[in-house]
């Protein structure tokens, strides 16, 4: 901790330092605090932009979202006013809309598969990229490319493009796509005939048929894992090798514990990403409601959805945190 006067307020600092010596009366306000506290209060100046944003934009927006979901918006010349509608929008989402609950279930399943597959993929790829192989720079540049390009509108337009050609291709030459379908199907049968559990089969099949999506969705996770791997000191591995540990052993006993905090970070990131990305059924439905101008229903649904995500994260984080190894603990 720093324990010397600040330059910024020399007069105040000098007075504060002088007053106990002079036996003067006790000062109140900022000057009555000790130096460390006053230094720490400077921190508010740094976080001020965020606090302003939170206070004037974000928190009102969230409060407004909750209010929208409980009312009917009536547009008028100088603005809009809200008429109370109770919980009807929430009830509609659950009782009237046939797709909402199913959409959430589907999002959950996709999310679960995504988390497992993306974490595995990015961990394996990070381990490979961390090796000293020729053309390392080139591979890294290409593998991080999806973080930059496969986002937002590009991902959406890519889907559109695939759909448009997909329909055309089906019309023209069904053979090729039927072949693709067949190979997926036979893999599933093969795995099931080997008495492998259905969950595992579905994970493997969805991993293979969605390989492109997985590769493009796991850029950030890959970067985070790679950064983590690079921050592990090589001397730990060296001493393990001297003690006779094989590569496999040091992977499980050094690498995994050392990057376990990042497994937590990546899990949370993947959950959030999977819930908000394009192609997510619930998100698309909410977005469609917004573009139709049905803000009340959209808000109600987003809040329910947010609550689901929140509960899920509140369950998952402590669960994983239990297994995380913290060096400084």
């Amino acid at each position: 901790m720093l324990k010397f006067p600040k330059k910024e307020k020399p007069a105040g600092a000098a007075e504060a330092a002088a007053s106990p010596l002079a036996g003067g009366k006790r000062r109140f306000g900022l000057h009555s605090l000790d130096l460390v506290t006053r230094r720490n209060l400077t921190g508010y100046w740094f976080v001020l932009p965020f606090v302003i944003g939170l206070a004037i934009l974000y928190i009102p927006a969230i409060v407004e979202a909750v209010r929208f979901s409980l009312s009917t918006i009536v547009m008028e010349a100088g603005g809009y006013h809200l008429e109370s509608a109770g919980f009807s929008h929430y009830l509609d989402a659950f009782n009237r809309d046939p797709d909402f609950v199913r959409g959430i279930q589907e999002s959950m399943t996709t999310m679960f598969l995504n988390v497992v597959i993306i974490l595995l993929y990015s961990l394996i790829m990070a381990t490979i990229l961390n090796r000293n192989i020729a053309g390392k720079g080139f591979y890294r540049a290409i593998l991080f490319l999806p973080v930059i390009v496969a986002t937002g509108i590009i991902a959406k337009a890519e889907n559109f493009s695939v759909e448009a050609t997909g329909v055309a291709q089906l019309e023209i030459a069904g053979a090729a796509s039927a072949g693709g379908l067949f190979s997926d199907f036979s893999l599933e049968i093969l795995l099931e005939s080997l008495n492998i559990s259905e969950t595992l089969t579905s994970i493997v099949v969805s991993a293979i048929s969605n390989l492109y999506t997985i590769v493009t969705c796991s850029g950030v996770q890959l970067i985070i894992f790679l950064a983590g791997l690079q921050s592990i000191s090589p001397s730990i591995y060296e001493s393990a090798t001297v003690e006779g540990a094989t590569w496999w052993e040091s992977f499980w006993k050094i690498t995994i514990p050392m990057i376990s905090p990042l497994i937590l970070v990546n899990t949370v990131y993947t959950i959030v990403d999977s819930f908000t990305q394009y192609g997510n059924k619930t998100m698309d439905a909410i977005y469609e409601l917004i573009s139709r101008g049905v803000y009340e229903d959209a808000s109600a649904r987003s809040i329910v959805y947010l609550a689901v995500v929140g509960v899920l994260i509140a369950i998952v984080v402590p669960l994983i945190n239990h297994f995380v190894f913290y060096e400084n603990k």
């Binding site: 720093l2 600040k6 910024e8 965020f50 934009l57 974000y58 192989i133 930059i148 590009i154 987003s302």
Partner: protein
């Protein structure tokens, strides 16, 4: 055991020698094999990532007749730039490119600045309520942008921060028609994924030694002097990294642009690409294949400038990430 004991000494030595040699070779072979395996996997994934682009470039070069011809795939019978020219025209490319560059530069610079500042505050000062505020940063990251999108739009349409404008008799003003919503969100660090940048930057600053700060203080710098003269120069790779993130995510952003710029004459590329998908929907000239080729070319045109920026920023990017010490 007996057999070993009975073996003549020289032979045993030779076999031992041979065995050692084999072990050496085996480990080298293993090294080569596993490296080869890594190369195969990596090349496969590189191909997977690059293939859509190669495919789109090939499709872009096909003529209108080739697109309708089922016997043509990837390699054109007659090369033509018709698709490219049509796409450039529909997207109003050069004007939109200009708008996008301006918008992205404004946003990414503001975001770099605000996120670095906020992150430094969180990393280095233990002010009261710090935990609560940082929890807010994380919560903002978790809330899908769609939840707050509508209320934010309403707020910007009737912009009146904390009722201050009404207080001075100005009434609310509509600022949705332009870059102001983006400026406000970026400057206050609550724009798209800004919490992630704040988190990354905070981890980076936590890893820097406090000695730098103390030295600066002794030499007579204030808190902001230390931040601008000592901390920022150290954080350049990290700032380039988050700058690259914010630049490219703003570049491809569809949600915020679609909502805040829908009525504006200021049309970024992402919106033009969106419009391309429904342009002249009932015109029989725009067949499924042709439209798909147009959208593919549109994607290429949107990505190309970004890819160039990435090539220059890439070195910093990897360096910045590995310096970040996200492990904390």
């Amino acid at each position: 055991m007996e057999a070993v004991e009975k073996m003549p000494a020289p032979k045993q030595r030779r076999s031992f020698k041979r065995k050692a040699g084999r072990v050496f070779n085996k480990s080298r072979m293993g090294q080569l094999l596993s490296n080869g395996l890594c190369h195969i996997i990596l090349i496969g994934i590189v191909f997977l990532i690059l293939f859509p682009f190669i495919e789109k470039i090939c499709t872009m070069l096909l003529s209108y007749e080739d697109l309708a011809d089922t016997t043509v795939k990837y390699v054109a019978k007659t090369f033509s730039l018709e698709t490219l020219v049509t796409t450039l025209g529909i997207m109003d490319y050069w004007k939109s490119l200009g708008s996008t560059v301006i918008l992205c530069l404004i946003c990414s610079f503001l975001q770099i600045f605000s996120c670095t500042l906020v992150a430094y505050g969180f990393a280095r000062y233990k002010f009261p309520l710090r935990g609560l505020l940082f929890a807010c940063v994380i919560v903002v990251l978790l809330i899908p942008p769609q939840v707050v999108m509508t209320p934010l739009y309403m707020q910007f349409t009737f912009f009146d921060p904390l009722g201050l404008f009404s207080l001075f008799g100005l009434g609310s003003i509509d600022i949705t028609d332009g870059v102001w919503p983006f400026v406000l969100l970026s400057a206050t660090g609550i724009a798209f994924k800004n919490s992630l940048y704040i988190y990354m930057m905070r981890q980076f600053f936590r890893g820097l030694p406090t000695a730098i700060e103390e030295a600066g203080m002794i030499d007579g710098s204030g808190h902001f002097g230390v931040f601008f003269r000592l901390m920022l120069p150290n954080a350049v790779p990290m700032m380039v990294t988050i700058g690259l993130f914010s630049f490219s995510w703003q570049w491809t952003d569809n949600y915020y642009s679609a909502i805040f710029l829908q009525r504006s004459s200021f049309q970024p590329l992402s919106l033009q690409l969106n419009a391309l998908q429904t342009y002249n929907q009932n015109d029989p000239y725009f067949t499924g294949n042709f439209r798909s080729a147009l959208v593919g070319t549109g994607i290429l045109l949107v990505v190309a400038p970004l890819a160039i920026v990435y090539l220059f920023g890439q070195k910093f990017f990897v360096q910045g990430i590995s310096q970040s010490g996200i492990v904390g």
